[in-house]
């Protein structure tokens, strides 16, 4: 049975087992490879996407749960890399291997949409993605810089 949802602003329809995780539908059926597989149990966050604007771990979200919803993957956040979070990720030279970073950026952009000026405590409480390379100090600095940039842009 076909399952329909919106991916990065485009209507998509996939004919897969309804319990297939959204991650594998995005990667293997819809061929967008930016969203990564790290643990398969919703712990590491490499697979984070936005579903109706909220960060979700797509490796444990059956695609049928996304039916009719609007899904955004890293490719849809800003294809040119111009989202303030992406810009600050470049500015602060955050990534090392880079494998977790798409998920990080999606988690952080969702966090900032909800909480435009997160404190360090807010970041500690809400950002639960794993970075095995240990880029956390730069992630924190980039979040604060992106928050400032977004606030400045919103005020203009």
């Amino acid at each position: 049975m076909a399952i329909e949802f919106t991916l990065n602003g485009k209507a998509v329809s996939v004919d897969v087992d309804p319990d297939t995780p959204l991650l594998w539908v995005i990667r293997d059926h819809l061929k967008l490879k930016g969203t990564k597989f790290g643990c398969g149990v919703g712990m590491c966050g490499a697979c984070t996407v936005h579903v109706d604007g909220r960060a979700q771990r797509s490796c444990v979200l059956p695609v049928e749960m996304a039916a009719g919803m609007s899904v955004t993957s890293i490719e849809g956040l800003d294809p040119e890399g111009g989202h303030p979070v992406q810009r600050e990720w470049i500015e602060k030279a955050v990534p090392q291997c880079g494998y977790c970073q798409a998920g990080m950026i999606m988690a952080v952009s969702a966090l900032l949409a909800e909480n435009p000026q997160p404190t360090d405590e807010d970041i500690d409480m809400s950002l639960t993605n794993i970075c095995r390379c240990g880029t956390y100090p730069r992630i924190r600095a980039a979040i604060h810089a992106a928050a400032e940039a977004m606030t400045a842009e919103a005020g203009q």
Binding site: D28, L32, G38, V41, W89, G98, C133, Y136
Partner: protein, 746 residues
């Protein structure tokens, strides 16, 4: 882009009496080809017809930034326009059968910058020299009147000729001797030593960087695997009937386990045991299906009988007891000075302690994967192996294909930390693809398979005994190291830079445990530096002396025996260590009063696996605060002298990452075994630190010179040691077994 590949003839030249740099000689290029194709002048560099330049990076990119730092070296001496450069990975066929044009292609031992700097720097200068020679001939002027800029050669007349135009002529010239070419003066460098932004970061932030897991080929099928849960067990019966009703056209394969190769290069004629450890696979069951989710669901639905009886008695608890007993006995001696037994029995004050390091999994975030296509007479594979030349060998040997018909597409890799040096997953993927010629197949392990079938840092028990004289000086130092199966890592004991009048170090590896050994960030230093410093800290405390004074005094050359064959090296080393220690102490304000409940630890080390090994020197200062059963790491400061720095921001990144890797080792990482089976399975029971428990990290890079020295691993062993000494300094327990269980990290 197509790069013409020609036959490579190999020559070599000694540089500075130290490094052998085999270079390649390019053949002739036809003029038709030159009009549209790239011209490869040395295997490092191709000049493209459109004026851009392609640099080939002969190692995998794991986050250590080789795809930026190696191009920095090449661009420097080629005088390349950074905006025009393209980067691709090397082709392992260039390293066979005629030699090794790149000198070193394995990502191991923090060696990328160290081993590749000279070859890259020389190759690029040779290419520039050849371009200048070609221009000199054309313009009929002498070479020394010409200059280069913007991928072009300019004459005093103002005439300029682009590199692309000159390249076909340059490629036909004889390679100039490395001694005859001009290098850019260090003071005039434009790229080396600069914080050049990493080239792949924009692609990472938009999800466009392609990793091994992202390979997608027309008609590709997907494989999921279940390996025998007990290492060394064997496959019994598998009932295939559940597959019949499943989607994705699943098919079942049985793979027989066996020897794969070694986990690092073994120089010809050398004993593999001194350089590497064997890599083996276990019997496994594979399902291949249309999608990976289908393959994984199918393989997990199977009832499989494994015969695990031979190894079911193996547990880490039993191993701990076994190694402890070994360490208390007489082990083969790897270092002896003086008469340790007599000195110990006569010592006015004598201490002993046992230190334990558990199995750990390097656990890179990208699960292991490899894509293979077997076709008549040729094989293609795509993987992010840390040891690509051996992945290439495995594919050629298993399929019986001539090596020049095996194409390995090296891929970006989501972390390595040593795990990717073991090509077990490549061996499996090739075997799977051999059953379906003409069909590309991607093998991807689950996280559970990755954790339960990793290659582990070895379980290690060390028993120390030390004797102090009446003045609190260490008279005797005895260390017995008993570890699970491992590559030779006795340097963990013998490379400790301090000399005591009586020393005895014993070392033995026990083959009983079935878990395979693997390289992990920091290698033997990660197991041993914290133990050595822990026991040294115990002796310092017993003598009532400050850590820093204690180490400073021990680094005085008067402690180095006059009879030592490598005394000059040891004296120089001690001076280097002391200089970095002093700078670290100064930077951290060592000696300032500390609030109650806080503690500081300071250590200094290098990675001199043997006397004279070129290693960076670095110190760590850790600050901790103890609470009720808790510890907070407030700050870790690293001071490093790593020779010439190619990219200071990359050095910062590597050190920051290595500190955090160390905190995982210190507080969280532990693989345990019961009934022959690894007990952990995912990040729930093999946790990795999140952002909420990361200390302030401060990096100081000291002015260095000479070849670049390793930085990727080096902050890991010293951070563990400094944090544990800080806990003791704060009045907390002396930690003798990792990970720390006495205190909770907050």
């Amino acid at each position: 882009m197509t790069v013409s590949r020609r036959n490579f003839l190999c020559g070599s030249a000694a540089i500075g009496g130290a490094i052998l740099f085999p270079i390649t000689r390019a053949g002739a290029v036809s003029s038709e080809a030159a009009a549209t194709q790239s011209t490869e002048i040395l295997s490092w560099i191709a000049i493209n017809a459109d004026g851009s330049i392609t640099f080939r990076v002969p190692q995998v990119e794991l986050g250590q930034a080789v795809t930026t730092t190696i191009p920095q070296i090449l661009a420097e001496e080629l005088d390349a326009d950074w905006e025009t450069i393209r980067v691709e990975f090397y082709d392992p066929r260039q390293n066979r059968p005629d030699g090794t044009p790149y000198s070193w292609t394995t990502t191991l031992g923090s060696s990328s910058a160290h081993y590749l700097f000279q070859p890259a720097h020389i190759a690029a200068a040779q290419v520039r020299d050849m371009l200048l020679s070609a221009a000199a001939t054309r313009l009929n002027v002498s070479k020394d009147q010409l200059s280069t800029d913007g991928n072009a050669v300019s004459a005093p007349s103002g005439e300029t000729i682009g590199y692309a135009e000159l390249a076909p002529e340059a490629a036909n010239l004889t390679h100039p001797a490395p001694e005859s070419v001009t290098f850019r003066a260090a003071a005039d460098r434009r790229f080396v030593g600069k914080p050049v932004p990493r080239l792949n970061v924009p692609a990472i932030t938009t999800g466009k960087l392609v990793y091994g897991i992202d390979v997608d080929l027309p008609g590709m099928r997907h494989a999921a695997i279940r390996q025998c849960p007990v290492f060394g067990g064997s496959l019994g019966q598998v009932d295939e009937t559940p597959l019949a009703g499943l989607s994705g056209n699943p098919i079942l394969l049985r793979l027989k386990g066996g020897f794969v190769g070694y986990n690092s290069p073994v120089p010809e004629g050398q004993d593999p045991d001194l350089w590497a450890a064997p890599v083996k696979t276990d019997d496994s069951v594979v399902v291949v299906a249309d999608s990976w989710w289908q393959a994984k669901s199918a393989v997990e639905s199977l009832e499989i009988d494994w015969d695990t009886t031979a190894h079911a008695d193996f547990s880490t608890e039993a191993l701990r007891a076994r190694l402890s007993k070994l360490a208390e006995g007489d082990l083969p001696v790897v270092l002896e000075r003086g008469d340790t037994a007599t000195a110990l029995s006569a010592a006015p004050q004598r201490l002993s302690a046992k230190y334990v390091f558990p199995y750990m999994d390097p656990a890179p975030l990208e699960p292991l994967n490899c894509t293979v296509l077997v076709e008549p007479g040729r094989v293609s594979l795509w993987t992010g192996s840390q040891y690509p030349d051996d992945a290439h060998r495995i594919a050629a040997e298993l399929t019986g294909t001539p090596p020049d018909q095996v194409t390995l597409h090296l891929m970006n890799c989501g972390g390595g930390f040593g795990r990717g040096l073991q090509n077990d997953f490549v061996h499996q993927a090739v075997q799977i693809a051999m059953t379906m010629p003409g069909v590309p197949v991607k093998l991807l392990w689950t996280r559970e398979e990755c954790i339960q079938h990793s290659s582990y840092a070895p379980f290690t028990v060390a028993r120390y005994e030390g004797g102090l004289d009446d003045r609190g000086q260490i008279e005797s130092w005895s260390l017995n190291i008993a570890s699970s199966r491992s590559a030779e890592q006795s340097y963990g004991g013998t490379s400790f830079p301090y000399f005591f009048p009586n020393m005895r170090i014993g070392y033995q590896r026990d083959e009983w445990a079935t878990l395979p050994f693997g390289w992990m960030r920091g290698v033997g230093m990660t197991q041993h530096v914290w133990m050595n410093y822990g026991f040294l800290g115990e002796l310092a405390a017993a003598s009532g002396r400050d850590q820093l004074d204690f180490y400073r005094d021990l680094l005085d050359p008067r402690h180095i025996p006059e009879v030592l064959e490598t005394r000059d090296i040891a004296v120089e080393r001690a001076a280097r260590l002391r200089a970095v220690l002093d700078r670290a102490a100064e930077a951290s304000g060592w000696g300032a009063p500390k609030p109650a409940g806080t503690g500081r630890g300071i250590v200094v080390a290098d990675s001199a696996y043997y006397p004279g090994y070129a290693s960076s020197t670095k110190a760590a200062v850790a600050d901790v605060t103890l609470g009720e059963g808790t510890v907070r790491v407030d700050k870790v400061a690293i001071t490093i002298n790593a020779g010439t720095i190619i990219n200071p921001d990359v050095v910062h990144q590597q050190l920051e990452g290595a500190v955090i890797f160390a905190l995982n080792n210190t507080f969280l990482s532990e693989i345990t075994v019961e009934g022959g089976q690894v007990q952990q399975s995912n990040f729930g029971d093999y946790p990795i630190l999140l952002i909420d428990r990361i200390p302030q990290i401060e990096i100081t890079i000291l002015q260095g010179e000479g070849d670049p020295l390793g930085v990727g691993e080096d902050a890991t062993p010293i951070t563990i040691a400094a944090v544990l000494n800080a806990i003791a300094d704060a009045g907390g327990p002396r930690i003798r077994s990792l990970p720390v269980k006495e205190l909770e990290l907050i």
